[in-house]
């Protein structure tokens, strides 16, 4: 069900990508600055909710490409996967691991199990909220 408001539809098309980019930005910078997986997931979810209000639940599902429940499951799997390195090296569960990769120039790419976990939180929050919203909207349609 498409909204009849032209302003909403046009604005949504412009705002949704920005919001999504912002959510990833929040996710990545979360370790040092305000942000993180939880907030990032909420921002991403509100982006899709905005899209859903403008263009309806069906088109949102098409935009997501996968069912929100799969996003949720993927999030939980990411979170669990972040525990594997600690298990493999025989440390207590959930011990954080860090890897640094040198990049061209004087910078480093810092990756960690913490980041993988945060991505899991991001996806789980997004998946949960989208499950709520899409289910509720679909009943209405």
């Amino acid at each position: 069900m498409r909204s009849s408001s032209l302003i909403l539809n046009t604005a949504a098309l412009a705002i949704v990508p920005l919001q999504l980019m912002f959510s990833v930005f929040l996710l990545l910078r979360g370790h040092d600055e305000p942000g993180g997986g939880f907030i990032g997931g909420l921002v991403a979810a509100s982006a899709f909710v905005l899209y859903a209000f403008a263009f309806g639940a069906r088109s949102t599902l098409r935009l997501l490409r996968v069912s929100p429940r799969d996003i949720l499951a993927a999030g939980l799997l990411f979170a669990l996967a972040s525990t594997i390195p600690a298990l493999l090296s025989g440390q207590p569960l959930l011990t954080a691991h860090w890897w640094q990769f040198p990049l061209p120039g004087e910078s480093y790419l810092k990756l960690s199990t913490v980041l993988i976990f945060d991505i899991g939180v991001y996806l789980a929050v997004l998946g949960t909220l989208m499950t709520f919203v899409i289910s509720l909207m679909e009943v209405r349609e």
Binding site: G30, H31, D32, E33, P34, G35, G36, G37, F38, I39, L42, V43, A45, S46, V49, P68, R69, L72, A73, G75, L76, A79, L80, L93, L94, A96, W98, K110, S112, V114, F117, D118, G120, V121, A124, V125, G127, T128, L129, T131, F132, V133, S135, L136, M137, E138, V139, R140
Partner: protein, 769 residues
């Protein structure tokens, strides 16, 4: 190696589906290779054990909790391990033939192998906790085995009864084991047995002993818990043959024997063992005599045997322990054989009722011969091993330090009845006039006879040369139960002495009873039916009924489906308890100090109050949702004002999404109707105000109570050093307290699935015509 030996049953269970496709009809033979090789492995340990060594194989399991998978092999556990794997071999072969073509044969083997592995773990565990885990595993797997014919309601009921009794006893046992660990300061059997601590003098000794006894009595079907065992005969015969000969029901006896050196010697221990053991022995023998189903007869004679074993541990002299081990071995051999033979009879004739069988010796000569041999051992006649065991038992009772005469009378009475029972099993079906059975009887297949044949022959060999098994292993087993080295001189023939005379008397009276059985049985049966109304089983049913009634009553009271009541109870209980604690621990202390407040802080507070009041007062749903939203944004403002940007952002986003979700839900609700009376609304108002006051007081109190040193400084100092992050909130979420977050996102997932299924299924219901 030992770890593999114990756990191989579980591993093999996983392989059953694949193996079944590969081996087809002959899967029984294939799977029997596992217990057969286990038997060989355990037999290879015999020489060192018979020298009096105790093997201790250490495996870590949960070192943080002091729980290990250590295995301890001494005479007692090795006898059990050999019986479990040896009889298990024949049972698996037997079951392949007995359940031939059964659609769930694969499932049967999966559970059977798991059960065998649990049983091995039980008798070999050195750690009390691991022992308990295996103990409960046997309860669960035997539940599934007894209820194997799960389409039969009776089988399900009996299985559940067995589970309730044994698992209920298991819970009590757990308390007992923990108390024991507390008394001795160790959770290892070896250490407990080796310590020279005076356990009997400890304050917890009585409690620990009673708990352990209840656990063992429920498992080993002692009076008054004996009723589950005959009901467990709803299981297919291979299961009965295994569970009730050497395994499941012997687990309780094993525990008693295992702990005898430590807990024994006390009047409480020996008194209750002798009392309950003797009562069980007589009850079992009598009930066996008065039953007609061949499996029931055997089941009750198992109850009798378990009573005898318990009683012998209670007597506790060196002679009694010798009798205990011999009786244990003899019973496992003949009972395993007889159950398998009973299954063969049932399989070939189509009935379990011995009154309907007769003259089968012509059509089933081999079965008849083996049955007679095993029954001779049951009756305790020479030259079978059962005779050796029974003579030892009578002799040890004669020389018992206490209650000698009473126990002897009970034992002789039971012996008479058992002679009659053995006759019922061996003579009634096979001799006399030929009776017509539902199926045309013919000889049982080889796979069903090999087990009973080998077991009966062993009983014969052990009977003729009892000093051979004694020298090989039994002495070691007797020593480990007695707690001191023992050397026995077993012989078949001891000359004419008092036990022999008692045996002859019981044989004569037993034969007379058998002769009169046809006339006695209906009367006894009527008596039993009348008595069962007051028996322990009736108590069990009344207890179970009581549980459902209480559950029913409290569900109607607390979970009546009205959401408002749920909320009311939740809020009242939570804030009632919190308020009570606050009042008693802290008391009222109200101190307001607004002097350092800024005007915009008061502004936010005012906004919060007004929007909350509006949300309560308005009759428009949209209005109340919006004003709740305003409250939320106000809280976000407070967070930002007190420099918690992360919380502020989260609060804003959550608030936005909540309002959106609520609005979506609003469309589905029926029009607003006022269902509650004014009185109810005043009650709700009072509860709400009460909760608000308690919460406010709690927050005010929290400002100046500090039970522990605040942990914030630790986070602030270590956030960037240990976790390489400067945003402390996020570092706490994803690193310091990652486990909490992990749990929380799984709760999120559950909530999503719940909402999804609730909405989806309602929608589908509505679409249905």
């Amino acid at each position: 190696m030992m770890l593999l030996a114990v756990l191989s049953g579980f591993l093999m269970a996983f392989a059953v589906p694949a193996l079944r496709r590969f081996a087809g009809q002959h899967i029984g033979w294939l799977l029997a290779l596992l217990p057969a090789s286990l038997t060989v492995y355990f037999a290879s340990l015999v020489p060192s054990i018979s020298r009096g060594e105790i093997l201790l194989i250490e495996n870590q399991w949960m070192p943080g909790l002091g729980i290990t998978l250590d295995f301890m092999v001494d005479g007692l556990s090795l006898v059990f391990a050999l019986l479990i794997s040896g009889i298990g071999t024949f049972i698996l072969i037997y079951a392949g033939s007995y359940l031939k073509g059964h659609k769930d044969l694969g499932r049967f083997y999966v559970i059977m192998l798991s059960f065998m592995a649990s049983m091995l773990g039980l008798v070999l565990s050195d750690n009390l906790i691991a022992f308990f885990v295996f103990w409960e595993l046997t309860s669960i797997t035997s539940y599934m085995l007894i209820g194997f014919n799960h389409e039969d309601e009776e089988a399900r009921k009996c299985a559940l009864q067995g589970l309730f009794v044994t698992a209920g006893g298991g819970l009590v046992l757990m308390a007992g084991l923990i108390l024991l660990g507390f008394i001795t300061g160790s959770y290892s059997f070896t250490e407990i047995l080796a310590s020279d601590l005076q356990i009997q003098e400890h304050a917890f000794y009585t409690a620990a002993t009673i708990c352990i006894l209840i656990g063992a009595f429920t498992k080993s079907a002692q009076v008054p818990f004996h009723f589950w065992l005959p009901n467990a005969m709803a299981a297919p015969t291979p299961v009965s043959a295994y569970l009730h000969s050497a395994t499941m029901v012997k687990a309780g006896v094993y525990l008693l024997a295992r702990l005898n050196p430590s807990l024994g010697g006390d009047a409480l221990w020996s008194g209750s063992l002798m009392l309950f053991g003797a009562a069980t022995m007589l009850t079992g023998a009598y009930l066996a005599f008065s039953s007609t189903g061949i499996k029931k007869v055997l089941a009750y004679s198992t109850v009798m045997a378990l009573g005898t074993l318990t009683m012998l541990i209670g007597v506790g002299t060196e002679l009694a322990i010798t009798a205990f081990i011999c009786f244990l071995l003899a019973h496992s051999l003949y009972k395993g054989a007889l159950f398998m033979l009973a299954g063969a009879l049932d399989h070939e004739t189509g009935t379990k009722d011995i009154t309907k069988m007769g003259g089968l010796r012509q059509s089933m000569p081999l079965t008849a011969a083996i049955t007679c041999l095993a029954a001779l051992s049951l009756a305790g006649l020479p030259p079978l091993f059962g005779f050796v065991a029974k003579e030892l038992m009578l002799e040890s009772l004669l020389k018992a330090p206490a209650w000698s005469l009473g126990l002897l009378v009970v034992a002789v009475a039971s012996a008479m009845l058992v002679v009659a029972v053995a006759g019922l099993v061996a003579i009634k079906p096979f001799f006399g006039e030929v009776l017509k059975t539902p199926k045309q009887p013919h000889e049982a297949p080889f796979a069903m006879l090999i087990g009973p044949a080998v077991l009966s022959l062993l009983a014969l060999i052990f009977g003729v040369v009892p000093f051979v098994p004694a020298g090989i292993l039994l002495d070691a087993a007797i020593s480990s139960v007695h707690g001191a080295a023992v050397e026995t001189a077993l012989a078949l023939w001891h000359g004419v002495n008092v036990p022999l005379i008692l045996s002859v008397v019981s044989l004569l009276i037993g034969s007379l009873l058998l002769y009169k059985w046809q006339r006695l049985q209906p009367n006894l049966c009527a008596l039993n039916t009348a008595g069962s109304r007051f028996g322990p089983e009736a108590g069990y049913f009344r207890f179970m009924l009581g549980i459902t009634q209480v559950a029913d009553w409290q569900t109607r009271l607390l979970q009546n489906g009205v959401l408002g009541i749920y909320l009311l109870i939740l809020v009242l209980v939570t804030f009632g308890l919190t308020g009570y604690t606050l009042l008693t621990r802290h008391g009222f202390e109200l101190s307001f100090d607004f002097s350092d407040g800024y005007f915009y802080e008061f502004g936010i507070a005012l906004l919060l109050v007004v929007s909350t009041l509006f949300a309560c007062a308005t009759r428009s749903r949209l209005g109340s949702v919006a004003s709740v939203g305003v409250t939320g944004f106000g809280v976000a403002l407070i967070f930002i004002h007190f420099s918690a940007p992360d919380l502020g952002i989260t609060q804003l986003l959550v608030e936005t999404l909540t309002v959106i979700l609520l609005v979506l839900v609003l469309f589905k609700l029926p029009p607003f109707v006022n269902l509650s009376s004014p009185l109810e609304r005043y009650r709700d108002l009072a509860v709400a105000v009460f909760a608000g006051i308690v919460m406010t007081l709690l927050i005010l109190a929290a400002m100046d109570i500090q039970f522990f040193e605040s942990i914030s400084s630790y986070y602030i100092e270590n956030s960037s050093e240990l976790a390489f992050g400067k945003n402390i909130v996020n570092v706490i979420l994803v690193d310091f307290r990652q486990l909490d977050t992990l749990g929380e996102i799984f709760v999120l997932g559950l909530a999503a699935i719940g909402v999804f299924s609730m909405i989806k299924f309602r929608a589908e219901d509505q679409h249905r015509p």
